[in-house]
Symmetry: C2
Amino acid sequence: MNVIAASKQNGFPNLIVQKYGGSSVATSEKICGVARKVKARVETGAKVAVVVSAMGKTTDSMIALARKVSPSSEPPPREMDMLLATGEQVSAALLSMALNDLKVPAISRNAFQLGIVTSGNYSNARIRDINLTLLSRDMERYDVVVITGFQGITPEGDFTTLGRGGSDTSAVAIAAKAGAPCEIYSDVPGIFTCDPHKVPGAHKLEAITYTEMLELASLGAKVLHMRAVELARRYEVNLYCASTFSEERGTSVLKELPEWMETPVVTGVTVARNQVRFVVKNIPGNGDIVSGIFQTLALAGANIDMISMAGDRGLSFLTFTVLDCDEKSVLKAVTDYMNSHNLTGWTLEPGVPVAKVSAVGDGMNTATGVAGRLFSALRSRSISIMGISTSDINISVLVDGTRADEAVEALAEEFALKS
Amino acid sequence: MNVIAASKQNGFPNLIVQKYGGSSVATSEKICGVARKVKARVETGAKVAVVVSAMGKTTDSMIALARKVSPSSEPPPREMDMLLATGEQVSAALLSMALNDLKVPAISRNAFQLGIVTSGNYSNARIRDINLTLLSRDMERYDVVVITGFQGITPEGDFTTLGRGGSDTSAVAIAAKAGAPCEIYSDVPGIFTCDPHKVPGAHKLEAITYTEMLELASLGAKVLHMRAVELARRYEVNLYCASTFSEERGTSVLKELPEWMETPVVTGVTVARNQVRFVVKNIPGNGDIVSGIFQTLALAGANIDMISMAGDRGLSFLTFTVLDCDEKSVLKAVTDYMNSHNLTGWTLEPGVPVAKVSAVGDGMNTATGVAGRLFSALRSRSISIMGISTSDINISVLVDGTRADEAVEALAEEFALKS
């Protein structure tokens, strides 16, 4: 496997990067539980770089405190990151203590001590470099290095934080640089074929590709952050997501599925709810007006999706979806635009509540008839398809918003994603 | 004044170091109050280096957490300091935010960022150096630099903490290095001639010398740490202690009182309670036995004070005091020692509860009759003197433990220390 090869090349044989999120280290008891889990890993002969988030809701309560001392202005982002960076230092020190108490040689390191250098944009910094020499030296003396996630320092030595999903990003970056695999532990046991809260019997996936994972972002949202998945894809870091609180097998996120694994046609089904679909009929003129409409919508801050356009005798016929919270601003923006250009004859129907249901799978590349199977599965339940878009590994359809769950259920059944 | 001269020499004209303790920054409201106080100082044209402790009881609760994750062993001191160092970083960041909210240009700095290098003995490290170039650079851009007290880093970049009174020590060290005066704010308004809880009407001192302060340690215990006073004495840092929560004038601690100030004979009266006095009579032989007794007591861990010895016809007569908690171990140790040396004829009377009352004042140097005034003040209240020791600036007497408060009161009256 290329990852292990890379690991050996980079001088980190047996290194595993593990990341434990805030809910995994929320209390002293949970920290002791994580220490036992790490210890078990060390006993298999591994060296472990453990990346931790701040305990539970620490970050939230620090933000609240910051607001209180800064009632009339936003706190300076530099000071905010100085404040927030303490959260991970607390959990890293405590986990290191818990490991030492279990007789596991461990040391904690913050962003200063490990030379995690980032760009200077506070609260949303990008990792520029990690000083592996320091990690390497620690790994000679300790079995575990506990590293503060979510944070870095600027070249000038100011603390930065990495923004949402920051600790996942820290873990993947360290794994990428060291050529090691990366395990992300949280309170969710893995990635499922569909949302298990909506589709009882949804399967947990044994493995999924980076590309599929990015398409199925909503299924993985609570498990790992998409910024970390993108980084893992770029550097081909083997990711593994599982529950902190059980020994149950989790989900691997890889470049491609192992050869011995049968590639499923559809890996998962995801749904985007709370959308409305607009139809603008009889738009006169050439594409200029349509393009003007999109510019207007962008200015109004509406996020447009699932666009389709057709033309007939010089009149265009446009459909698109937006989030339902943007419904009113879209109606107003389009109407204003048309009126300000003295256009007549066009009609804009009120938005229709819809959901976008997507079937995702690397297997679609090579399988035929996937679209056909999808359509008949929906038709057999009398669910109308109000729009469609496809890519190499994705088919998305718009359906009546009230029937989204039924549609997901139908596809899960058709493609054997549930039991 | 030499301090201002030093300050100008070191390139820090107008610099004042201020230190605010844990109770001064215990809540967001108190942090905002400190910010207003610092702002008022900046508005007089000063640049302020503010040293802060952790908020309220933060350090205590982190220690409790550390014990929980390390149930079977003491947490590694290195990890303990990694943990505890976050406390001051939180309060420094919050105070900097509060200052910025009041439009005061401020930045927070931790031990890494200010190069506060210490020895490597975790939990009780000694400051070796402070990088004034960094402070100086900050002072060009900001009016206030908020500095994490109580902490440093080793030359290898591990966090250390300075032990009890650590933030006071940080503040004085910075002031010493920068040649600036140092103000220590707490919830106590200054140094008093006697304990104001015991002696109603005790005066607050306008000024006191380092030496007096060290002799009167118990009077200053809640105001500033003696380690910081020693450091201030060594580098002649002008100290000033006052309340965070009022504008009331506090107490200056200086090398010598300003010339315009009349030097009082006695500056303050302090009392050490919970002592017992032992008398060992008829110790045979030469000094060897007495010296053996002291060695035995040292091994038993007893802290001996107020020793006196007299001899008569080859027999010695020894008295000393110890803390009452050591009473039993002293009785046993002396008896065992005498018996193991087959000595006879000696007697050891049970301990008598006593208190050591000390009158301290640089003025004693030159004033005559102080001892006489002290004795008659006690005698006029029929308080017996059971022992006495003197130094240049100190007369201590042993009195019946139940009459300690009366004795202090008598001296306070005699030397005009109360109203």
